[in-house]
């Protein structure tokens, strides 16, 4: 049934279950990574310069929140999105930066499938809701968010029945 040769052998909508927990592994954030991202996308002094960072609300050189989000997504792509018939993200909500990610911090954590539903407009698509719980090496929460991602159905001809919540 699947017509996309790139994703044919990957997990599809039907293969996912609410409650599945994805382990993201870990990434250590170096000063070079922070400055490289900040130079291109977030050139505030508190992401580029140690002295300016010490004087800011962050209290030291810290990664751009968008880099923390990007690295979290990278971990999800490696551990999950590249293994499913992903059709891209729809967006996200309730992104909270809870604690700055400082030079040398290791971040990782889990993503949990919190909802699954079929698209009403496109019978060949499902929507998987993914809750991020990103923590540093001290297990302190650094970021959370809820991402909505599209995924191919293996069999779009199965009638759309709303699952009981």
């Amino acid at each position: 049934m699947p017509t996309n040769p790139i994703t044919a052998n990957r997990r599809h909508y039907e293969d996912l279950a609410i409650g599945e927990v994805i382990d993201l592994g870990q990434v250590t954030v170096s000063k070079e990574m922070i400055i490289s991202f900040a130079s291109e996308f977030d050139p505030f002094p508190f992401h580029l310069d140690e002295a300016a960072a010490k004087a800011s609300l962050l209290g030291g050189l810290a990664a751009s929140g968008w880099q923390t989000a990007g690295l979290s997504l990278r971990m999800l792509a490696d551990s999950f999105l590249a293994t499913i018939a992903s059709m891209g993200g729809l967006g996200f909500s309730d992104l909270k930066w809870k604690k700055p990610v400082m030079v040398g911090d290791s971040i990782g954590g889990t993503v949990t499938i919190s909802a699954l539903r079929r698209s009403h407009g496109h019978p060949e698509r499902g929507i998987v809701t993914l809750d991020f719980d990103i923590r540093n090496q001290k297990s302190e929460p650094v970021m959370s968010m809820r991402l909505a991602n599209l995924i191919e159905l293996r069999d779009p001809l199965v009638p759309l029945v709303e699952a009981a919540e």
Binding site: N4, I6, D42, A77
Partner: protein, 185 residues
Amino acid sequence: MTRWFEDIVVDEAFPLGSHTFTAEEIIRFGKLYDPQYFHTDPEAAKHSHFGGLIASGWHTVSVGHRKMVDALFAEEERLRALGKEPGVSGPSPGVNGMNFKAPVRPGDTVTYTLTVTGKRPSNSIPGWGLLFNQLNAVNQHGALVYHAELVGFSKLRDYRMPIRLRVLQALTRLPGLGKLLQPSR
């Protein structure tokens, strides 16, 4: 923007400028932060429902953030040139919502606009205010690429610290005692 909290006008739109996305930068960002085949491999991407390579939503959002930072710096310079002291903006506590609407393909030009839709003094950080911002990104055909509901910090100009906080701050400057009073990290 780089204005004091008190000077920020709600519902004023700030044009942030445009960015044209190349295939090279789409792939470079994709490989670093969002390695899915439709962001990194133009040939494989033809099999996706997008029909070709598209930028990661996180890439278009990161560029939008850069546009906002550039606009803040430009506003700071403009105010300094007028002999005024610019305000101070701080790190963001989060994003309430982000909706990716239309894909961004190589060669697309995206235009960004920021609107402050609300503001209030922060409850958790004295002397700072919270700004509620909307960011819209539109492509060269006028289609909405993404819509974001952002939250940011801006410093209050007219803030006078309550006496108990001023006493506490003075005490933390005393050697030894300061260490005891600092919240543990």
